[in-house]
Amino acid sequence: MAERPRLAVVGAGPAGLAAALTAAARGVQVVLVDAADQAGGQFYRQPAAALGARRPRALHHQWRTWERLRAGLERHREAGRITALTDHHVWCVARDPASGAFGVHALRGPAQDEGTVVRADAVLLATGGYERVLPFPGWTLPGVVTAGGAQAMLKGGLVLPGRTAVVAGTGPLLLPVATGLAAAGARVAALVESAGPAALLRRAPALAAQPGKLAEGAGYAARLLRHGVRVLPRSAVVAAHGTGRLDAVTVAALDRDGTLRPGGTRRIRCDTLAVGHGMLPHTDLAETLGCTLSGTSVRVDAEQRTDVPGVWAAGEATGVGGAALALAEGHIAGGSAAARLHGTATDPRRWAAAARARTRLREFATALDAVYAPPAGWADRVPDDTVVCRCEEVTAGEVRGAVELLGAGDLRTVKLLSRAGMGWCQGRMCAPAVAGLTGCPLTAGRRPLARPVPLGVLAGLPDTNAGLPDTDPGLPDTDPGLPVTDTGRAMADAGHPVTDTGLPSADAGPPETGVDRPDTDGDRLGPDTKRPGADPVPPETD
């Protein structure tokens, strides 16, 4: 190619943005592809309002970082060095073994039913992660959402002041969610965290090595106090109650070993429950490309390269550790990709500072992981009649039976014998729960289709290895621009014909709504996970 080498970056969160800017600054033509309607990823998707008027220093600092990234992106876009494709849901990245070229296949359009492909010389996967939610009786009631779902409610301005929320589960993400809800005017009745203060203390050395992080934590603590949020450490929500909709939760105190403390339960009234048990990496695209995983993360070397030639990975996809870590990894990955694409030697000195930050932040993340593990024995407390897989309505009892009665031995055979994980979300939501219930190791599922793809799009692919047409289609000339507001997008979409399939519209309709985007990310808990698109508004708004 006479032109500049082309790098496709999938995911425009902190990792993807940092990578794109670094690579573009070093003479690489970057195509930044993201499913969301704006760049920013999970973290920068936070509405400014959630940060409050009097931002703690740490948050303020992050906001400034975001503004810098956004300005950089604008600059490179104007100079034609970065093409940003928002609203592009990548369903597969394929590599042509003969030429080494990549086909990045995405769905776009309001119904995500138009196929499009971008040709690239190298690919950088910065697909982030998704939330882990573990089941308990009542978790499928309307009013129960994931922590990320609560975040989306905030974004859409859907939290009406006067709502009463409980935030529960485990992990550092619960703090920003609780403060965000409180700042938006909801009454946060309690923050229920299964880890205890002692566990945090045990990891003190690794945590103390991160003064910025501790300051961030302290900032949240102060804000919780200011909003009068009661924090209940070493406790868990063991049941959600309500007929037709959430009206209360039962919170139980846990013993040091994670078991329920006798007599330690209380009932808290609330109409919203935000639950989360940490994040898991998105690895579908990497797995299909043949990248080796380690555990549930994409394995990378010191330069953030995967073991497939031409494929880099950065951020949460390679292990969960927060926005700062994602930025550092993205920076390194972008630098390495640029050097390799230009055929020059990589010079790790160029990213030495980022590499040091990466080491420190990974240690910090490992320490946090150990603190914020789901409480021991949680799986034994899930009664047989609790639904575990919502898409297929499979209960805990059926999942246990697949192993105990039918001889399943891993997540795949549990799925085959119980249908848990066969539905719309393809097990993204229930796999961790199924693993816990059955004792099978949690492995990254094999999902060659990272998104549901219309058969018409598959049938229309060029008949080549990577699904690339014989001549380079070039880059789509419609760079929708950044940032795009929701209204702007809706208007652009209005003229788009939605063709009739002869099916009830609920069946053929768009799989996702504009409000709460990635169903497949599993960050919505409403009853409509089974039929995405059937309900244009998350149930929390009713």
């Binding site: 597969c92 039918l406 085959l416 289709l449 058969l455 399939t501 069946d507 053929a508």
Partner: protein
């Protein structure tokens, strides 16, 4: 699947059965394929006879308590898009009928009574009421349980125990030896490797297939539907039917589309040309599918032997060793018949079918793989 069926019929013949598998139940090809129980796609010959026997046995098994395995005797519908293809299909069915297959011609005007969403303009078709369906993983798990056999899951066979005169007396596993006067090789695609452990050759090779699974839908497709296209094989002057993927609705809602056939070894990576072909074939039959989404796709490796027939029965080269593998794209459908033949061979009973075409040693004696 095949091992579970062998265990069931052997146990029912009064034998004490142990089942050893290095993985979980249905962890091999059985968990990676589809559960079509077809007679429609088979030409007259030994495979069709085994399929017809198996079809009867499947219907019996489905009646038994404790065997819920999504058995559906829904019937197949083979359609021809051109008059030429229809003529070839009719010739093909004439032969099948003499072998005992029920094949009912369906005129162009009646096709959409059977399948309301079928593409218009088809020349005609044939309805096969004997075609049926099971969910393979469930079927294997249920039959295994019904057999009452002791299972050793997660145990890998690392050797076949043989006396000085070559007689087989058990297997060595990574977790100890299991002694038995008879060993059945039901290792599917890995059957050749297992045979090699006993010192005999069985050329089983993998043949990859992809399946596409759609989002759940209300029932829109009632039968197993596939297209028969006429292909003249000029060289041999014989006519063969080329078939497109089988499209069918399932009780659980998704439409299954499968499967492709490729010889590419054990390469599991996604083949876009394969899923493209599946999608295109399915849309040609049911245009409404164009807008329907595929939720997942997966690949499995069919165990095939050079003459496309399974190896079933005792191996004279290693007394005490029996084979039940190499069923290629029909191992689910052919499993009960295979189990019955194996049980009869183990107990010295009279075989229900002529076992000669399935002899495991045929590749050594009949001119090897060239056959």
């Amino acid at each position: 699947m095949v091992g579970a069926a062998c265990a069931l019929y052997a146990a029912r013949a009064g034998l004490d059965v142990r089942v050893v598998d290095r993985g979980p139940v249905a962890g091999g090809t059985t968990g990676a394929g589809e559960g079509n129980l077809l007679v429609s796609d088979k030409e007259p010959g030994p495979e069709l006879e085994l399929a017809l026997l198996s079809a009867r046995l499947w219907a019996e098994l489905a009646e038994e308590p404790g065997t819920a395995m999504e058995y559906e005797p829904k019937g197949g519908l083979v359609v021809a898009s051109t008059p030429g293809a229809l003529a070839a299909l009719r010739d093909f069915t004439a032969g099948q009928r003499t072998a005992g297959v029920t094949a009912v011609p369906v005129g162009a005007d009646r096709l959409r009574e059977l399948e309301p969403h079928l593409a218009p303009g088809m020349a005609g078709g044939v309805h096969y009421p004997q075609d049926a369906q099971v969910m393979p993983a469930l079927a294997a798990a249920r039959l295994l349980r019904a057999s009452g056999a002791r299972t050793h899951l997660g145990h890998t066979v690392t050797g076949v125990l043989r006396t000085a005169d070559g007689t087989v007396y058990g297997v060595r596993t990574d977790r100890g030896d299991i002694h038995a006067p008879a060993v059945v090789n039901a290792a599917g695609t890995w059957g050749g490797e297992l045979a090699a452990l006993a010192g005999v050759r069985l050329p089983v090779l993998p043949r990859r297939g992809f399946v596409l699974v759609t989002e759940p839908l209300p029932r829109m497709i009632r039968h197993k539907v596939y297209a028969a296209d006429y292909v003249a094989d000029v060289a041999s002057d014989s006519a063969a039917l080329r078939t497109s993927p089988v499209v069918e609705g399932t009780a659980a809602g998704p439409v299954l589309i499968g499967a492709t056939r490729e010889r590419v070894g054990f390469d599991r990576s996604l083949s876009l040309p394969a899923v493209r072909a599946l999608a295109a074939g399915a849309i040609a039959l049911f245009p409404f599918l164009e807008r329907i989404r595929a939720l997942r796709t997966y690949a499995g490796f069919r165990p095939y032997l050079p003459d496309h027939l399974p190896a079933i029965g005792p191996d004279p080269r290693a007394p005490g060793l029996f084979h039940a593998c190499g069923h290629e794209g029909a191992g689910i459908g052919l499993a009960p018949g295979t189990g019955r033949l194996i049980a009869q061979a183990l107990t010295g009973g009279a075989p229900e079918l002529d076992p000669v075409p399935f002899r495991p040693e045929r590749f050594d004696t009949d001119g090897g793989d060239a056959r």
